[in-house]
């Protein structure tokens, strides 16, 4: 569970349609001024596991083998997450893959989420699975915009395209990647669309970064010129 109380508590809303805080525009009765968006969340809750919860053997082994690498364990609706520092990511990943308790030989997914107000704004998340032991774990690293994350594509070639997508969508710099190019967006795209400060509509950051270039692209009629 999250520790801090949240403004949009369901009980408050039910009893009082016009919420005392201007944060939520629930009821149509509230004035347009009440539509100001709530303050951006500071980051994921990353709830700590309960003390009496038994930890899976691979996490116990990880903590004994690399006690300094692990920042925190987190547990929520049946999923375990290991939060590590970017410098020890490769060490932890290799341990989880190669240790007998872990044997995470399958990298399901690599993704990220963006929490702009936080100093280390990105979470990069690795979803791992073991085809032999049939269990899952997630590794999470927190990085700032100017920090880099080492690539895990050497350990799991599956991460190759997935890390390219993280770079493309979030602009998290990944070092040691065999082929770091954009994957879904065009090669010459500016900006990273999945960032929270990227607008939902419109040509994106180009409009802000170089309006003249944006205007020029808008006025082009011949598609080959855009190429």
């Amino acid at each position: 569970m999250a520790d801090e109380p949240r403004p949009g508590d369901s009980k408050v809303e039910k009893s009082n349609p016009v919420a005392p805080k201007p944060a939520r525009a629930v009821a149509p009765t509230s004035k347009p001024a009440a539509k100001t968006p709530p303050e951006a969340p500071k980051g994921p809750s990353d709830p700590l596991p309960a003390d009496d919860l038994e930890r899976p053997p691979f996490l116990v082994a990880l903590q004994t083998a690399l006690p300094d690498a692990v920042e925190q364990f987190s547990y929520w609706v049946g999923d375990w997450t290991v939060i590590v520092r970017p410098v020890s990511l490769l060490e932890v990943a290799r341990f989880l893959k190669e240790s007998d308790e872990g044997s995470f030989d399958y990298c399901s997914d690599v993704t990220a989420s963006d929490w702009p107000p936080r100093e280390k704004r990105f979470d990069v998340i690795y979803c791992l699975y073991s085809t032999r032991r049939r269990h899952r774990v997630r590794i999470k690293v927190r990085v700032a915009e100017d920090e880099t994350v080492p690539s895990v594509a050497d350990l799991w070639p599956a991460a190759n395209w997935l890390e390219r997508e993280v770079w493309d969508m979030f602009g998290v710099a990944i070092t040691g990647h065999p082929d770091l190019r954009r994957i879904l967006m065009p090669e010459n795209w500016q900006g990273h669309p999945q960032r929270k400060d990227y607008p939902l509509e419109g040509p994106g950051e180009l409009l802000f970064e170089s309006p003249m270039e944006w205007l020029r692209l808008r006025n082009l009629t011949d598609e080959t010129e855009i190429e």
Partner: protein, 373 residues
């Protein structure tokens, strides 16, 4: 006159572009091939031509509206995408789904698997040159689409599930029709087998083409039939049971050689296993409501989770982050099975002939709507 050979006979390597508009790439997929004669020496797979930003869109839609968006990812298996999304949100909210809803979901997901494999079989066979199979397979797919139409009114984008259950109970007599379809389908699978399984041309074109070992396939993150074709026992339905799969008997077919022919045999066997599951579910369909107790305003507590289902293409995972106070997800990530399988295309095609590239695109069964999202 010079004695130099005409340039047509030079032996340079040739770089050609296959796609994005090509009849055999199943959508807007582009592959840049470096060829030495007819042999592929190198390949670069370029995706993103129908990137619609569905993951970004979801951050601005409320939890129920997103079900519509999931329809549009894997548009030949929309019910599976619905199921994956609804199950993930239910896991995040810790909602209990009624048993009847679980059964009907399982039936829908398995009918969807049969429909998706029908489409795969038809297009894959036509890519290799067997026209008849295409017409046969689409004939049966039509029957499934009719069943879906009767259930939810749509034939392609079903929007057939809700968070906490199902929007509708099955119509009267629908279960009888599903059972009748299963009986029809049994004999049709036999027809496909007669056309292809021992067909000499089919064997020549698929045996030993695109061989990948189990270890490589696991490392590359392949999932679904391409992974099982290499002999790796991995099926989310068995390993991490969801919906009502833990209540049914079914087998997971495994390949031995990891070639295109094995992947074909596996999908044919999956037809039979799916029908087996559908029959068991129809026979044991429990009574009761189809919608669980879900608040009108869906707002999961702050937290994040990853949940995967076995879609016809492979492991379809959703990673959802909720900030606990807004009515839309903070982040929704789809782990698309086609995307991860497509990554395996490059190692598969290198060393093969250009004509086999078409067979190999077919064998990994991609839907570009899901690759690009």
């Amino acid at each position: 006159m010079s004695n130099e050979p005409a340039p047509i006979f030079d032996t340079d390597e040739l770089v050609i572009n296959m796609g994005p508009q090509h009849p055999s790439t199943h959508g807007v997929l582009r592959i840049v091939l470096r060829l030495d004669g007819e042999r592929v020496r190198d390949a670069d797979v370029v995706v993103g031509y129908i990137h619609r930003g569905i993951e970004k869109l979801t951050e601005n839609r409320d939890w129920t509206q997103i079900i519509l968006l999931t329809d549009r990812m894997d548009y030949v298996a929309a019910a599976s995408s619905n199921l994956g999304y609804c199950e993930t949100v239910e896991k995040l909210m810790e909602v209990e789904v009624p048993r009847r809803a679980k059964y009907i979901r399982t039936i829908l997901a398995e009918l969807q698997r049969v429909a998706s494999h029908c489409l795969w079989l038809g297009t894959h066979a036509m890519d290799i040159g067997a026209m008849t199979v295409f017409l046969y397979a689409f004939r049966e797919r039509e029957l499934i689409l009719d069943l879906f139409e009767e259930y939810c009114g749509a034939r392609l984008t079903y929007n057939s599930m809700r968070i906490g259950g199902l929007p509708l109970d099955i119509p009267t007599g629908w279960d009888r029709k599903v059972r009748a379809f299963c009986d029809v389908m049994d004999s049709k699978i036999q027809e496909y087998e007669e056309l292809l399984t021992n067909n000499r041309i089919w064997l020549e074109r698929t045996r030993g083409i695109g061989v990948i070992s189990g270890q490589e396939a696991t490392a590359l993150g392949l999932c679904g039939p391409p992974l099982r074709g290499s002999g790796v026992y991995r099926d989310v339905r068995k390993d991490e049971p969801y919906a009502a799969y833990d209540e049914f008997d079914f087998d997971v077919p495994l390949g031995t050689n990891g070639d295109t022919y094995d992947r074909y045999l596996i999908r044919l066997e999956e037809f039979r296993q799916s029908l087996r599951i559908v029959r068991q579910a129809i026979d044991g369909l429990p009574d009761g409501p189809v919608m669980g107790k879900v608040p009108r305003l869906i707002k999961p507590k702050a937290g994040e989770t990853y949940h995967a289902i076995e879609s016809p293409k492979g492991e379809l995972g959703y990673f959802i982050v909720s900030d606990g106070r807004s009515t839309n997800p903070y982040r929704l990530r789809v782990r698309p099975p086609s995307f991860c399988n497509l990554q395996g295309l490059k190692p598969l095609v290198i060393g093969h002939l250009v004509a086999d590239v078409v067979a190999l695109i077919g064998t990994i069964d991609i839907v570009l709507g899901e690759v690009d999202r």
